[in-house]
Symmetry: C2
Subunit: 426 residues, 2 copies
């Protein structure tokens, strides 16, 4: 397979963050060349003159199996929303349902320029992986683990670990997902940490999303969450902490020193009124690897990474009362190269550079991206999924000229709609 | 002219906020009928089965002439951004430039489902009106007025009042735009207020956007901004106050008692790090008419009303630490019927109901709007401009199947791009 993209403004995200009008040749699943006037024959040629070519966005925290709950129980306060709506319906979900929900999420993400995602699920890890392979998106999936949440079903420790040890393929990898320090015992957390180290798998968990949970952890363990998790050996380069909003300066320093992957989910935090704004500026300064996630369609309610980039930037400016606290370039880094690093995407991860994996997005230049005085600012502050015209994942054309290649999107939407209605009646 | 829209899920925004699958017939510039199985012959028939038909969004505060400055001076602190970048380039702008900038903004807004906007400009009021008529969008334009900002050019009081008295046509109306209580003397503010009353025109100004300005007004006038403006007779149903973020409970009560039109611009406030979150929940409770605006592409940097609706809701939840403080329905009201009321759009303003002006938007059902368990929540929290397939303004088809009707959008984008580059060299 080869794809030649002609004449785009290439936002390389390389070490120098270079940007220039160039051609890009993709051979198999990697970028073969970035240069002017490439004349190789290619199976697909994309005329991208005047358009932007950028690395695919990486959604570092989501729950794709929840996509069918978009808008369900809207307007309820948080506790009632969870207890009366989300948990009961989740309990009735099957792995087959999770597959359809995942496919819906994947279609939405691809249409929004997202080429990889990091998921935590209650069940259906295998089905989510199958959905990713079927449509064509890079996925990291962790089966969620709990042992301190009475009345909530989960598949259990041994099954979660079995899932986490699934063989990886080109697009899909698996990790271990202890849900959070307040829903897992120290024994379970330690086991998960040891397993991750031994099996060389990622550990993906929720940490310090709400103010209350940080005090609960402090009460139970006499340590703040990051200190507690660090004492169990869980703060390291292979751990991914989502939310991480309610933290002390000491906890930020720990995250930085251990080069932790920290994922801010600004839309979800605001929507659930958690009150915290993840201090990504301070994490970044401290040395942590800051990434961005949408969280699920049940709590966001979209999987739009352009929106989450913009929100990440806006909330830092708001939090620190400083309009120049963070650059658009830095935020784009969070959503591309930092995500790629967190997921170990190899050489030149998240860049458009010879040898890097070919996960690419073309943005058409609409009125909202005009003028192109500052393409990075346009991507972060003005772009939306409607600008995405082409998506390439692992060197394969997934969306070409706004249409899925070889995948029946309308049929999926109909199936998802029917299934959601049917689930509500169970 | 007649248009028949078949089989859509009609979000009527009528008094009962009804929603049902219906046909909608538009004759001339008004809605003629909302019913099942309408079989009238119509010049245009839109098959909208499975899609959403909603009233057009109303962007109640923007500066369309600034659209060519999108991304210009990005990353500078606020004062330097204004003094070194925006003000010098604005000083070099001509009314002809303002027309192109306005056309670019109008195209972006229409593509994002916005069918009316309320603008304040430094110059080019007439040209902005012409642009609105040429492409087809409803516009309210006020010429800005200053007399306390040394070193900044403006066209002067008499010219601004002449502009405000321009004859109104079907799409375009004019008002008076004293910039703010800290850039206008009390004499000028009083004159503007008297003029507005006499001429039956709207008064559109910036109020309490930053914390500093509220203290400056307090120091100079011994009153907080709303109290001060109220003492000058400027707080009433025909005034439109943009931002209105840094206010006391007493000021909110004044706004409510006088049924003031208050416009929150959440993206711009966050981006400029003003620190304030407009307490729309309290304004609404007090009885004010709450609306939503994007502010300009220079400070937002998009004119995306879907995004501004979502941000409005999210920021209330965040500000009050209460996930159910405001409903999606209420936020949609702000962006439709409340804007229509502020702009005096007449009978059933902002609703889909026999007799109302036909400003309509069709949303295609994409993955991000699936499932349709709660269409209002989907519109506010999950929709984006890429979902907009059809736009009708004043009964005319402006965008059909994602294409402008009889307007050369690509040529405009090229012209705008060239002009922006040329302006930067002046």
């Amino acid at each position: 397979m080869s794809i030649l993209i002609k004449g785009a403004i290439v936002v390389t995200q390389n070490e120098k963050r270079e940007m220039a009008r160039n051609d890009v040749l993709v051979v198999d699943n990697r970028i073969e060349e970035v240069a002017k006037g490439i004349n190789e024959k290619a199976e697909y040629v994309i005329d991208a003159k005047g358009r932007i070519l950028m690395p695919g966005l990486i959604n570092m925290h989501t729950h794709v199996a929840m996509t069918l709950f978009r808008g369900y129980g809207e307007g309820l306060p948080l506790a009632r929303w969870l207890e009366e709506k989300i948990w009961p319906i989740e309990a009735k979900q099957t792995p087959k349902d999770a597959r359809i929900a995942a496919m819906l999420a994947i279609v939405e993400m691809l249409r929004g320029g997202t080429t990889a995602f990091c998921d935590q699920c209650l069940l259906g890890a295998k089905e989510i992986g199958q959905a990713a392979n079927e449509i064509g998106i890079r996925a990291h999936v962790s089966q969620g683990l709990f042992d301190l949440l009475p009345g909530r079903d989960f598949e259990g420790e041994s099954i979660a670990m079995e899932r986490a040890a699934y063989p990886q393929d080109r697009l899909v990898s698996y990790g271990i997902g202890p849900h959070s320090p307040y829903t897992c015992s120290d024994k379970m957390l330690s086991k998960a940490g040891t397993f991750a180290k031994k099996q060389k798998r990622k550990l993906h968990m929720h940490v310090s999303e709400t103010r209350k949970e940080t005090f609960d952890v402090l009460k139970d363990h006499n340590k703040r969450p990051f200190e507690y998790l660090d004492s169990l050996g869980l703060v390291n380069q292979d751990s991914i902490f989502a939310h991480a909003s309610w933290v002390t300066k000491k906890e930020i320093a720990i995250a930085g020193a251990k080069k932790l992957n920290v994922v801010t989910c600004p839309a979800s935090n605001l929507k659930l009124a958690t009150g915290g704004i993840c201090p990504v500026f301070e994490y970044e300064e401290a040395g942590a690897n800051v990434c961005i996630g949408t969280d699920s369609a049940a709590s966001n309610n979209s999987l739009n990474m352009f929106e989450s980039m913009k929100l990440t930037a806006l909330l830092q400016k708001h939090r620190y009362w400083k309009a120049d606290i963070i650059s658009a370039q830095k935020v784009l880094d969070f959503a591309t190269i930092n995500g790629a690093k967190a997921l170990d995407m190899g050489k030149h991860a998240g860049m458009i550079k010879k040898g890097a994996l070919a996960d690419l997005v073309v943005l058409d230049h609409g009125a909202n991206l005009t003028p192109g005085l500052d393409h990075i600012s346009n991507i972060v502050y003005a772009a939306h999924p409607g600008n995405v015209s082409h998506v390439i994942v692992d060197g394969k054309p997934i969306i070409m000229d706004c249409r899925f290649v070889g995948f029946d999107e309308p049929a999926l939407l109909d199936r998802a709609e029917e299934l959601a209605v049917e689930m509500m009646k169970r």
